[in-house]
């Protein structure tokens, strides 16, 4: 198995799309954290960060669909359709694929509730959206466990980069939450920043 042949094309496609999906999911998590804390990206207005978060999510779902479809279609190992959604039902590496199946189910829940946000209400949507924090680590462990080439080389490098980027975003989120100004003080803080010192002294 040193090159891509007719028989191995699906196997390679499945693994490649898996890696791309993980990178995209990492981007989605980081963008989601930015949206939550009203963070900005250089040169983009606030609403564009939200738009990017949504669009990259849909791109990730598209790659995930190809990843799952090629894994099922690949004759090298037999993974039933059911095993892609039912955790631990696969004959091949049931534990590691099971984690992937849970991750897939969670992503489905996140996408469906986001599309139906107007119907289910903001609070319910928000509660379900917290699942994103469970979904992403499951996907990472699934990648590590089910794929031999994730244990070294370039793929491992990508994985480590994803974990580090997410950890950094998470740390920033927690510190931003700690720095958050209470609602009642927001205008006062801006006013203080805006006022030149003589006016500040005069109470204006």
């Amino acid at each position: 198995m040193t090159g891509i042949t007719h028989g191995t094309a699906l196997w390679y496609a499945s693994r490649a799309t898996g890696v791309v999906t993980l990178v995209l999911l990492t981007a989605v998590v980081i963008l989601g954290i930015l949206v939550n804390r009203r963070g900005r990206l250089p040169g983009l207005p606030g609403f564009a960060v939200t738009g990017l978060h949504r669009n990259v999510s849909l791109l990730a779902v598209a790659f995930l669909a190809v990843h799952v479809a090629t894994a099922i279609a690949d004759p090298y190992v037999t993974i039933g359709l059911a095993a892609t959604v039912l955790p631990f039902a696969a004959a091949y590496k049931p534990f590691w694929l099971g984690l992937g199946a849970i991750s897939l189910d969670l992503i489905a829940a996140l996408v469906v509730t986001s599309l139906a946000r107007g119907l289910i209400g903001r609070r319910t949507w928000r509660g379900i959206h917290w699942l994103a924090y469970a979904c992403w680590p499951l996907a990472v462990v699934h990648s590590l466990g089910s794929s031999a080439d994730a244990r070294g080389g370039a793929v491992l490098g990508v994985l480590v980069a994803c974990v580090l980027a997410t950890a950094a975003a998470l740390a920033w989120r927690l510190s931003a939450a700690a720095r958050q100004i209470p609602r009642a003080r927001r205008a006062a803080v801006t006013l203080h920043r805006m006022s030149p010192s003589p006016a500040r002294k005069a109470g204006l």
Binding site: P182, R183, R186, A187, A188, L191, M194, S195, L204
Partner: protein, 454 residues
Amino acid sequence: MPDTLTIPSSPAQPGGSPAAGGGGLPRLLPPAGAAPADLRAHLARHGALRYAGGRGRLTGEVAAAGLTGRGGAAFPVARKLAAAAGARPAPVAVGNGAEGEPASSKDASLLWLSPHLVLDGLQLAAEAAGAPSAVLYLRPGQRLHARLAQAIAERAAAGIDAVGVALVRAPDRFLAGEESALASRLAGRPALPAYRPARGLPRLAPARSALVQNVETLAHLALIARHGAGWFRQAGTAAEPGSMLVTLHLPDGHTTVAEVPLGIALADLLGLAAGQPGSGEPGVSCGPVPVQAVLVGGYHGTWLPAAQAARLPLANAMLRPLGAAVGAGVVAALPAGRCGLAETARVARYLALESAGQCGPCFNGLPRIAAALGHLAGSRPDRRAVTDLERWAGLVTGRGACHHPDGSVRFVRSALRAFAAEIGLHEAGRCSGTDPRPFLPLPADPPSSDADWS
């Protein structure tokens, strides 16, 4: 809010005889010199409360009377009553006496002097909506609360109320009476305006809406039910019928609450006369005090140069084309010798600090605007401050969940027009203000924690 109340003088004192239009003013307030009305005095003067006899029955008479909301928005009351009569389940009837506007004291005066008229109106609103219960939402003040609690107890003892009335204390915030903020407070949360303005009646719970009317509106309702639409229309203009309570800030520093017919000339209301006293110079004065500008509609209202204001009536038909409105009836005449820019800057700072801190354009924009005005109020300001103000004003308008940014910006923009000459003076390093004392009233403490909204 301080626990002091303005005892109204007869409107004839500040200016002329506005009651000449008929309909017998004052209607809502006791005649000058009379004591606050207890239940016995109230019944002796107005007669027994006349219920309309069922849900939705009062709507037609109110529509014929042309009564509009006296809380500031002048929304037709009949339309709200019709919406409430059609709502299922029946909404809660709410009397809004939050009166967060520091320059207004007409609601507190009315509640103090004629509590039973307001409570009559609240019962009628509850009947019109088929409401199972009613709430009176009151600005802070122990004396006022005690008085209303006593009035409610008097009525319960006399057995004249169809539904029970609960008293709820409003926080001492400018936006506490905003309808969605009120709904939030009644639902047990802080009195913050809603991110997304609800359409139709505000909701207290998913299945419970509220019919909210200003307390003065309720008092008018109580009289329309007794005397009919024709009587109500004997005061005011055809387009804006009836009387309204106004809070007047006179140039000599006195504050008074009066009941006047809508459409009264501002010159009569404030006692404005052409010419400077003691000389033949042009200008406008109130008694011996020269007046430079008039603020109409309170801190979400509009500054008008005194000469312009002296030709205008207190009527939205004439004020709206100029970007002004009657609002909740706050009218202030700024005397000469006070700096209009300094006054506006003080109020703009207060308005910025009263932002609920929810919408970016409001909590980022209003402080910037207030700071720029503070700069203009100082000596030798940078000309760019005016262009900055206009730009920020445009960025803020229409982008808040509630009307706070829009109203604040309207107030600031009108000051830039009315005090344009003063800006020129400041640029030259001078100021027409000789009296540094603040003129417009402001409360002392801005909110410092989110608990200040509860």
